[in-house]
Structures are given as structure tokens and as C-alpha cells.
Symmetry: C2
Subunit: 409 residues, 2 copies
């Protein structure tokens, strides 16, 4: 039996980046970029007017001129007007390109306007002392042409999509989605459309693990097998070649119907470990078919399979999508502060279900959830994640800071 | 001009729950439940075996019997066997229903087996003192039939889907998705497929706001209008009746091409406010067409529109989906600790772009991002959210705890 750290290391050793694919920007939201996005022009690409008002030449203002003849009006999206006389001004709008001869914008709030007898408009500068360059967002102030804007490995959120659009990245290279087969096993499980007999229950792990895999960016399909070696031998090979990962639940304990480890080995899946010094989820089996799918064979108890998914499978799914760049959110735990003392004696890592709440001092507080063991699926409803209690400690006082894995925000 | 608090209050006053729709459970992931889910049976529905081993009657063990004849084997998914002789045992698997005559399970790890000359198998209990009821997850230990499991107003994550599957909720009532029209305005904006002239830029706010609205659960469609009152008068009415919310960017400042507030009023949209004492995003306009869409008319500067979306529009979108239950994540700010002093003198609320990182003590730290103003779209790339600095303070020392709005994890 191996430690949680060793299990995580063996899982991480199977991480290979998935290949990129090219998608239209609209379809790339939430995906991981696989190319560097660089500035096609300066940011801003021109001296950009940042306020509605008048553009003028600061030298005139500095020389004492307070009233300016309005010679022209320039809107955003128009080529810049020519200004032959730099004692005149241009009425100008936010987003417009500053005329080459001018250098400062005075906003409407600091102006008064009048129209003279000849119909000519004039603006008087009322503000005490506008500065040269005021209300101009100068060309290249934020980024220069060629600068790296979004590095490969970044998850494309709204801000990244906006920047990609600005540089005309109509299609982008992103990691293709991991393909995950979610497989439930167990003779006691009936479809959710069926009324179970007294000794049966409905299949629930499959939809749970499917939804969890999808929140990690995967494309999923669900399958079910009874506890029958022949059915497993027949059904599993296609999953081992057609998917990047196979997430099973059930069939990995010591029971007489726990055929999975043996059948998986028969089918050429190399066992990397079986059983981890952890609670819940000790019987977790992990392997890889050479050149094919990795197999997360999770214990069938709902809390065990759920916690193991978030501890091992979700980080794997995120990592194969993100070969470079910072660790994706959810691939590493955050930290939280225990609100009440916990005792846990067995020398194994304990995954403790907790409610996570940010307090008014910016700290994340973790309150243990009353749970009836690894079969108590309902205990997941009121938990927002779990703490990872290290095996070498038995008593965890209130205030202990521990790694926390979230499964909801 | 009104305060941020007053603006948020006026936005919240327009919140009306969207109607429910009925979806198959598989399609309901991430949606907000609109009915209570109750236990159709006890949880667990029977005395459930929690370990592989043998089931026996504890009274025999207590009376000194250490070896038990194995009379039968029972797998999960089988009806319970009959046990006429309670000095015998049943070999039994995790997930099976405990036979009525027995009350305790001893796991394989605590047993040794032998087969006698007649071919009868026997199990010897080696563990010091198993307890009555050991390794049984008793019927109704977690929840009773009829108990409320998932209340209306809960967002359906993996755990909720699993519980819904368990109770046979093949279809569930969930809030229908908000329909959001995302509209960019501005003559300077060209499609992202086009090479802009020197004074033009590509449209980027639309895809940014679209992606942000979709992460809040919305169905979106994007539109663009030039700064032309006639085009706005012609195009906007269909959006005001066909969508729950219209999110515009641009056209709300003091410029001569900022026609939106006037056109919106002409089209029957009641103005609820225009201009908020905040930076960035002062020119934010908000209104509602009686019986129709609410209109978030955001300033066109990318940082302004982004920050305003997360401060006002995202909470609205989450709230119309969730009429009951706790406030959804993202509808209220979390708290974070400023890592360096910040001075901000103007008597307005300041939305300060920050990087948010959890430290090793469970605290969320906020480090201000160097930003070139509300036009500096690239500053959004390295920020993970923004702090809300109240208007009545000018100096914010390092260590100040402030409300933080996240736009990425």
C-alpha cells in the first residue's frame, strides 16, 4: 500500500499533453491556449482620446490662451482631421485618434462653449491647470507590437478572448478536450428510470463523475457493466482505445465480485498501484494501457469515488490540457483554516468533508461536515470540499491550516 | 450621480425570477433547481454491508464462538439470503443487503478461512473485539424517506446530480437560462476578421461580455450597431422584447455620438440611473423596458465594461436564476487582504484590479495590478479580480481587508 503523495506522483507521471486543435475564437472559451498570442499592433494602436471634449495643443494653453476656436469635430472611427492652425481646437470623442498636431484633451466638464455672431463656436478652458498629454491614452502605453500578450498554457476566459479578438485571432490553437469514459459497475445498480427492488439502488456515481469530469473540461460518455468478468472483458477494450481516460467506480475492493483489477491486467492495462493509505478511498486502483487510456478505478462508495476523483483524476484532466504555464486552478489545493478540533488516529491520510466559507478577514474557514462514512452520499450536498489531513498527525487543533480541495465555489 | 450602493440597489430591484423549465437530469448540470428533492426511500434504503467479509450474528460472537460455518454467499444486487441457523455466517460483499437474521460484518482482513474434509468452508474471527453492528451502514442512518435532500434554489453540481439520480429524478425543474443580447456600439470598431485602418480597432468587448455572461449561465447572442441613432432605433426594439437583458458597451458618455441614453428612452426603456460615483465606469446607464428587458448600458472602455459587468450584471444574471436559497457564488464579493498600500483620493468608489492568491495561512491576498487606466485591456490578463475601495477613504494601508470580486479562479 502506498502513500497519497506516492499515488499522486504515479498519477502525475502518466500526464502527457493532449494534442492541439484549431477552433474559432467563439468556440474556444474555457479552453487552454496552445500558442502564444502577440500584439499585432501597439496597444493602444494610436494616441487614443480617453475623454469627450476638445483636443488642443498644450503649448497654446501654456502660453496663456484660454479660449479656442472649434475648427472641426472628430468622432471615434474617423481618420484624424488635419489641424493647420494649432491655436484652434477640435471637438473630439472618446476612442478617436488624436490629430497629429495636437497633444492634449480637455474634457467637457472643464469647458464652457459659446457661439459668436458669425456662427463660430468657441470653447473656454475653465479647469485650473490641465497637463500636457492629459486625457490621452498614448500609443503603445500598455503594450508594444510583438509583445507577448497571452502565453500558451493560459485558459481562455473573457479577458483573453477580448485580447485575442483585438489582435484578429479569428482561430486559435487550443488543447483538444480530454475524452473520458465514465463506467459504473455493480449488480445492485439499476437505471435511474427504474424503481429499484429493496436490495437495489439506482446508478448515481456515473452522472456524478460525468458532471465532475465535464467541469474539468472533458467530453464524457457513460457506461455500465454488471459484476461479470465476461462482460468486462468484452466491453472494456473499446473504452481503453477510444478514450484518454477511463474512470470506473466499484469493483476494486476485496470482494468476490471485484473482478476489475484482474480483468484490467488481462486486457493489458499496467497496474501502477492498488490501494492507497487514505480514508476514504483505500481500494483505489490506477493503471495505464501502454499507449492508451489511463484507468482511474475508484471505489464504489459515493464519497470515496467523489473525493478520489477530485484528488487524483481532476488534476490529471486539467494537466493534460495545460502542458505549460502556471498550475491550473483545481490542480492544486488551496489552504483553509480548521474551525474546530479534529482527531483522527489511523496512520493514513484523511480526506475530511468540510464546508468552506470566507470570513470577513479574508481567510477561508473549513468546518467539518457531519458525515456517515463513505456511503453517505448526502453528506456531499452540504460540503464544499475536503481537507487533506496528513497521516503523521492524530490531533488537529482548531486553527490548523490545511490543504483544501474544493468541489464547489 | 448616485453611489455604487444605490446603483446596486436599483439593479437588484429589477430582479424577477425567470420561469422554470423541465429538463432531463443529464442536461440539468450547472442549472438552478426549482423544486425540492426529497428522499424517495431511506438513505441507505436497507442495512447496507460496508465491507467485504462475513455477516454473522453478534450474539454468537459475544457468547464465545470464534469459528463460523459459511452457509452461503451474498453479492451486492442479490435479495438477502435466509439464515435459519444464526451460529452460521454468510460470506458477503460491500453494497449487499444484510440478511434479516444477522447484524454484524467482520471484514476479510480480520478473518482466516479453512475448508474441512467434507468441503465445508469455515471462517475464524481473528480480530480482538468487533462490535455489534460493525461494518453495517444501517438503513436510514443518513436520511429518512421524505427528508428534504436538495432544496429549490440549489445549483446542480455533481453531488446534487448523484442524489437526484438516486431518488429517480429523471427530469427536474430548473430555471430556464437568461437570454442576453450583447451589443457593441462604436464607429471605430471593425469585425475581428478585418484588418483595421490606423484609426480603427477590432470589436473585442462583445466576445468578452458574451463569454462573461455565459459563465453566469446565460444564453447569448452578439450584435453590433454603429453610432447612428436611426440604426439603433431600428435594431434595438427586437432585442428589448426578445431577451431578458441587453448588455451594451459604448455610447453612454458625454460625446456627441453617445446616442444611447436618448434612443433607449425613446424606445420606452425607463432610465433608472445614469452615471455612478465610481472609477472606472462612471457613465454606466441602467434601465428597464416595462415588462421587458433590463438594459445594462456599460461604458465602452474595456476595463470599465468588464468591471461593471462583474459588479452589476453578473449578480443580476445569477439572481434571476436563483429566486430562493443562499446567495449564489459570484453574486456577492469575497474578502481579500491588500498586500501593499494604495492611495486613491477622489470621493468615488474605486474598482482596483488585483491579482488574488491564497497564502499558506488560508488568507486571500490581493496585489494591485499595474494598469494603464480603463482603456488598458491587457491589464485584465494578469488580474484575477478587483477590490472595491469605498469612497470615504483615501489611504488604504497594506493589510486592509476589502470586498473582492473575482473574474477568474
Amino acid at each position: 500500500m502506498i502513500s497519497v503523495a506516492e499515488a499522486a506522483r504515479l498519477v502525475a507521471a502518466t500526464i502527457r499533453p493532449l494534442p492541439p486543435e484549431y477552433l474559432s475564437l467563439r468556440l474556444a472559451a474555457g479552453r487552454v491556449l496552445r500558442e502564444d498570442l502577440r500584439a499585432d499592433r501597439d496597444f493602444p494602436p494610436f494616441n487614443r482620446v480617453a475623454m469627450d471634449g476638445i483636443a488642443l495643443c498644450y503649448a497654446a494653453l501654456a502660453a496663456g490662451q484660454t479660449e479656442f476656436r472649434i475648427d472641426n469635430t472628430q468622432f471615434a472611427g474617423q481618420p484624424p482631421v488635419r489641424v493647420p492652425d494649432v491655436t484652434a481646437a477640435v471637438e473630439i470623442m472618446t476612442g478617436a485618434m488624436l490629430p497629429a498636431e495636437l497633444d492634449t484633451v480637455v474634457r467637457y466638464e472643464d469647458l464652457t462653449f459659446r457661439t459668436d455672431a458669425a456662427g463660430q463656436r468657441w470653447a473656454r478652458v475653465e479647469a485650473a491647470s490641465p497637463k500636457a498629454g492629459h486625457n490621452i491614452h498614448p500609443q503603445a502605453a500598455d503594450r508594444r507590437q510583438g509583445d507577448l500578450l497571452v502565453p500558451a498554457g493560459t485558459c481562455l476566459g473573457p479577458a483573453e478572448l477580448a485580447v485575442a479578438a483585438t489582435i484578429g485571432a479569428v482561430t486559435v490553437a487550443v488543447t483538444r478536450q480530454p475524452r473520458v469514459a465514465v463506467v459504473s459497475t455493480g449488480d445492485e445498480l439499476v437505471p435511474i428510470t427504474q424503481v429499484p427492488a429493496a436490495h437495489q439502488i439506482r446508478r448515481s456515481n456515473a452522472i456524478m463523475l460525468q458532471a465532475a469530469a465535464e467541469t474539468a473540461g472533458a467530453i464524457t460518455e457513460t457506461f455500465h457493466f454488471d459484476d461479470d468478468p465476461a462482460a468486462l472483458r468484452q466491453g472494456l477494450p473499446a473504452l481503453l482505445t477510444g478514450f484518454d481516460a477511463v474512470v470506473l467506480s466499484g469493483g476494486v475492493s476485496m470482494g468476490k465480485a471485484d473482478f476489475l483489477p484482474q480483468v484490467l491486467r488481462e486486457l493489458g492495462v499496467e497496474q501502477l498501484f492498488h490501494e492507497v493509505r487514505q480514508r476514504p478511498g483505500k481500494p483505489f486502483w490506477f493503471g495505464q494501457r501502454p499507449g492508451g487510456a489511463v484507468v482511474f478505478a475508484l471505489p464504489g462508495n459515493p464519497v470515496s469515488s467523489f473525493v478520489n476523483f477530485y484528488r487524483y483524476a481532476r488534476p490529471w484532466l486539467l494537466a493534460v490540457q495545460q502542458p505549460t504555464g502556471p498550475a491550473p486552478a483545481g490542480a492544486t489545493p488551496t489552504t483553509a483554516v480548521l474551525t474546530q478540533p479534529v482527531d483522527f488516529k489511523p496512520p493514513v491520510t484523511h480526506f475530511l468533508l468540510v464546508r468552506l466559507v470566507a470570513d470577513s478577514n479574508g481567510r477561508l474557514l473549513a468546518t467539518p461536515e457531519r458525515a456517515g462514512g463513505s456511503g453517505d452520499m448526502a453528506s456531499l450536498l452540504t460540503s464544499s470540499g475536503f481537507l487533506e489531513l496528513p497521516p503523521e498527525m492524530e490531533h488537529f487543533p482548531a486553527g490548523t491550516v490545511l490543504p483544501a480541495w474544493r468541489f464547489r465555489e
